[in-house]
């Protein structure tokens, strides 16, 4: 760990008179995993949307590897692989077609990746001709991650990746993320689950539009007490 990969400075997001994010700032280094926790509706997905370039912030600055992403939006797709809460897949198409679509702008070779890359790692090669609508929730999530990593981005942003998945699938994804981080990737994850938070390097709490670092990385009961305490 060393180089600064993400530097977020004073991000604000307003919907009319609602201030969803009030000057959010944080950083992440290469090979780090950052967890963002908070109650439902606190703005976690909005923050991740802004970090992935799918939403615009009202004000603030985002630097990826020292480059200003807000003023050059292409950086978002070059630097970030984004896995939203719902799977961004075309249900009527096969696994292979979905991968093809995401790989079409990549320098990576899909056929090789189906043998040795992320799709193979997630066992998608055996399902490549299946229509997505017939896949299980777990396989869909694996496919979404594989699609997000098609361009081999240095940053992976995941919005509650384990929601409504079985324990085997969660462990599989977690195991892969550890490998990704070990290889120098940076992960930003939002989650409500202890198992997904315990491998994070640092943890932030988003509440009332303000992001606060939780230095002791509390989970479970402790995290709940901190959230209640924050509300006073």
């Amino acid at each position: 760990m060393g180089e600064l990969m993400i530097h977020v400075n004073s991000i604000c997001k307003n919907y009319g008179k609602n201030h969803i994010l009030k000057g959010v700032s944080f950083y992440a280094k290469k090979g780090e995993c950052i967890a963002i926790v908070g109650a439902n509706g606190c703005g976690k997905s909005t923050l991740l949307g802004i970090l992935s370039g799918s939403r615009k912030s009202t004000s603030g600055e985002i630097l990826y590897d020292g480059k200003d992403a807000i003023n050059s939006p292409k950086l978002f797709s070059d630097f970030v692989g984004y896995v939203p809460q719902d799977n961004p897949l075309m249900d009527k198409l096969s696994v292979l077609d979905n991968l093809r679509f995401w790989y079409c702008e990549s320098t990576r070779n899909l056929n090789e990746d189906l043998k040795t890359g992320v799709p193979a790692r997630f066992g998608l090669d055996s399902y490549k001709n299946y229509p997505v609508e017939k896949l299980s929730g777990g396989m869909r999530k694996r496919l979404s991650i594989a699609c997000a990593l098609a361009k081999n981005p240095p940053i992976l942003i995941l919005d509650e990746p384990g929601a409504s998945l079985d324990i085997i699938c969660k462990e599989d994804i977690k195991y892969y993320l550890k490998t990704y981080i070990k290889n120098g990737g940076t992960v930003i994850i939002t989650s409500h689950e202890e198992a997904e938070l315990d491998f994070c390097s640092r943890m932030y709490l988003l509440q009332d539009g303000i992001l606060t670092e939780l230095l002791d990385k509390p989970v479970g009961q402790k995290l709940m007490e901190r959230m209640i305490a924050f509300h006073g």
Binding site: P88, M90, K92, F101, C104, E105
Partner: protein, 409 residues
């Protein structure tokens, strides 16, 4: 560029994958549409054959063959045949028919009727109408008789006048020749009704026959209803996919255009297949050639536009509804309502004025118009542009609705 082409190709592929399902659904809807069309055709051509008047002809008991021949000739004249059916019957049956209303009038033909016309005796035939409840049809028949009598009277007066002139100047050879000449002249001028009455067909269905009219509105209704079976392909995408496409700088309207092209190609292929089958069926069943039209290139292009336009509207409705089930419900209701207001079920000239005025603003009016122009090979630039305009409007509207929805999330 590759990502756009790939996205287009995937939309076409997804649409063709659904082909078996779409064929089944389209056939089911086609049955419904044919039923609607059949009922409409019946409604518009209601009792056309019963509009003919039954006229009883009572010939003298020992009537001559000339009289029977004259009436059978008269009943075969086109203008008479379309209005009257002459029925030879006994006097009692004719009177009974007159009383119970099954007969509009009775013609009592005297002895030697035709011979008397030839020799100038002119024994009149009696025409008896019912005492009460004279209908419009009886009146029409009376007018027809009077005009016929006037014609014959004028012809006879002319012939007799020339006879008198010839006799006065003792030109005996001239009488026969003059009579022959005048007979021919009067028959060709005075008795040929087609010279007096120029035939012009004014129909509620405009320039189309009733069958053509219902083929047009049937195709539009079929396409609109088929939107229900395409709901999986045209429904709103999950917001995650829309967001991801946006990240890859693929505008949502382009996705909509590609989706519509996919579905349009499927239905275009189906209609072309049906067209080719009809063309081939002509060889086996020549009666089909009465309704079959050889389409030109412009008509094929317009057909593509028609399908594209209809599915643009379907996509817009699904985007607006924001849920597949609500979209299906909305599509069905709006399709039938709009088609009715546009005069696709009952011709608009038969609808109240206010409904006609609303119809001018509905896209279905222009879908039907384009369809009419396709099957008559008369596509106009104006209709083409209006249909393109509606497609742009619907796709723009759908993109706007998607944008609003994304902002709400």
């Amino acid at each position: 560029m590759a990502k756009y082409l790939l996205l287009l190709w995937f939309q076409i592929k997804a649409a063709f994958k659904a082909l078996p399902k779409l064929i089944c659904a389209t056939l089911a809807f086609a049955i419904l549409v044919v039923l609607v069309g059949f009922c409409g055709t019946k409604l518009l051509s209601n009792g056309k054959s019963s509009e003919k008047m039954d006229i009883a002809v009572v010939l003298p008991p020992d009537g001559d063959s000339y009289t029977s021949l004259a009436f059978s000739f008269l009943s075969e004249i086109e203008t008479v045949k379309n209005i009257c059916t002459f029925k030879e019957m006994s006097k009692d049956s004719a009177y009974e028919g007159l009383r119970n209303g099954s007969i509009y009038a009775v013609i009592l033909v005297p002895d030697n009727f035709v011979n008397h016309i030839i020799d100038g005796t002119n024994t009149p035939a009696n025409i008896i109408f019912p005492r009460s409840g004279i209908s419009t049809k009886s009146m029409l028949f009376r007018i027809l008789i009077n005009s016929g009598v006037t014609d014959i009277g004028a012809a006879e007066a002319g012939i007799y006048a020339v006879d008198d002139v010839c006799n006065y100047y003792k030109i005996k050879d001239g009488v026969t020749k003059s009579e022959e000449f005048l007979n021919e002249a009067y028959f060709s001028y005075a008795l040929d009704r087609s010279i007096y009455f120029k035939t012009e067909t004014i129909s509620a269905t405009g320039n189309l026959t009733i069958i053509e009219f219902y083929i047009c509105s049937g195709i539009v209704l079929l396409l609109l209803l088929s939107g229900i079976s395409c709901s999986d392909l045209l429904k709103r995408e999950n917001s995650a996919l829309s967001t991801s496409l946006k990240r890859r700088r693929i505008p949502v309207y382009l996705l909509f255009v590609f989706k519509i092209i996919g579905v349009t190609l499927v239905f275009f292929t189906m209609l072309i297949f049906a067209y080719i089958m009809t063309a081939l069926a002509q060889i086996r069943f020549p009666m089909i050639s009465n309704v079959f039209v050889v389409l030109n290139f412009t008509s094929f292009a317009s057909l593509f536009l028609l399908i594209f336009g209809v599915f643009s509207m379907v996509l817009f409705i699904f985007q607006l509804a924001n849920s597949q089930s609500l979209g299906v419900l909305l599509l069905f209701t709006l399709s039938t309502l709009m088609l009715f207001i546009s005069g696709g079920i009952i011709p608009s000239s038969l609808l109240p004025e206010i409904v006609q005025k609303i119809g001018v603003f509905l896209p279905t009016t222009y879908f039907i118009k384009l369809c009419e122009e396709i099957i008559t090979n008369t596509t106009t630039l104006g209709t083409f542009i209006i249909n393109v305009g509606f497609s742009v409007l619907f796709i723009g509207g759908a993109a706007f609705s998607d944008n609003l929805q994304q902002k709400r999330l």
